[in-house]
């Protein structure tokens, strides 16, 4: 919508326009819509997933207080192929949440952290990929190997 400027004569029917707003002086600090938003979405989803796993994990570990048989029976479920893949996803979620958590802390406490939030997100993904490339074969060999 072209803006109407008060006080200008209505005689001309040509639409009046105003110059586009200046780009923000501090580029790359807007969170919404891009890397900043997606990092937030992923941080939230992974945080909730890890939380619910933690509830279950405290309970399954508490079985060591019941009997060796009870603990071994439940922990045996963690060694099946399906659960093995679930653990891979869980470790992926924890690693992302941990690395992106450090990114959030940098954005909050480092004076120029906000300017670098976008770069930091790609650093998080890069470090995450390296760690996953290291962990995945190790874990899959334990789950599916002899």
């Amino acid at each position: 919508m072209p803006a109407k400027v008060a006080g200008t004569a209505a005689s001309s029917s040509a639409p009046l326009t105003v110059p586009a707003p200046r780009p923000p002086a501090i580029a790359g600090t807007l969170y919404r819509g891009r890397e900043g938003m997606w990092s937030w979405v992923l941080h939230r989803i992974t945080g909730v997933a890890i939380y619910f796993f933690l509830l279950v994990h405290i309970l399954d570990t508490a079985l060591v207080r019941v009997s060796p048989e009870a603990y071994n029976a439940v922990i045996g479920a963690y060694k099946t192929p399906i659960m093995g893949l679930g653990e891979l996803a869980l470790v992926g979620a924890i690693l992302f949440h941990a690395l992106n958590g450090l990114r959030i802390i940098l954005v909050d406490f480092w004076e120029t952290g906000t300017r670098h939030q976008r770069t930091l997100f790609w650093v998080v993904l890069g470090v995450w990929a390296v760690l996953m490339i290291a962990f995945t074969p190790r874990h899959l060999i334990a789950v599916f190997g002899g």
Binding site: A62, R65, S67, Y78, K79, I94, I105, R138, H139
Partner: protein, 147 residues
């Protein structure tokens, strides 16, 4: 007609006392840094070193929990992670739940489950017996000898 305060109207009252929300915010960050070290160590020792996930059984846990180092380590992990997670979930409840009654019920559920699991987990760590009397010798740690 709804009205709003004129711009630059000073805040009517400055709240006094401790700002709990601020300390909650600080807690998320301080516990986060500590959790990176604790969780990476936890995952490494249990899933990467040795035989990975396949090594985990009663005797493995008994070996760890009979060592004061791992008792303190696991206690820190339990308290820092569960309070961090529950406080994070409180943020989600505040973001998505508008009805005051539902909000209060969920806050209560979070607080209650956190308290119960902290007590349960801590008791397990410190009352754990690595060599329970009468247990199958095949299932307990080798250091239990013959019971």
């Amino acid at each position: 007609m709804t009205t709003i305060d004129a711009p630059r109207t000073p805040v009517a009252t400055t709240r006094r006392g401790v700002n709990l929300e601020k300390w909650g915010w600080m807690y998320m960050r301080v516990s986060g840094v500590l959790l990176v070290a604790l969780i990476f160590g936890h995952l490494f020792v249990n899933l990467v070193a040795g035989e990975g996930v396949k090594q985990i059984d009663f005797a493995f846990v008994a070996g760890k929990l009979s060592d004061p180092f791992w008792q303190v380590y696991d206690t820190l992990l339990l308290w820092l992670a569960l309070i961090h997670g529950a406080n994070g979930m409180r943020t989600l409840v505040n973001d998505y739940v508008a009805k005051p009654g539902v909000r209060r019920a969920l806050h209560f559920a979070l607080a209650a489950s956190t308290a119960v699991l902290l007590i349960l987990g801590t008791l397990v760590i410190y009352t754990f017996d690595p060599c329970p009397v009468g247990a199958d010798p095949e299932l307990v740690a080798s250091f239990c000898g013959d019971l």
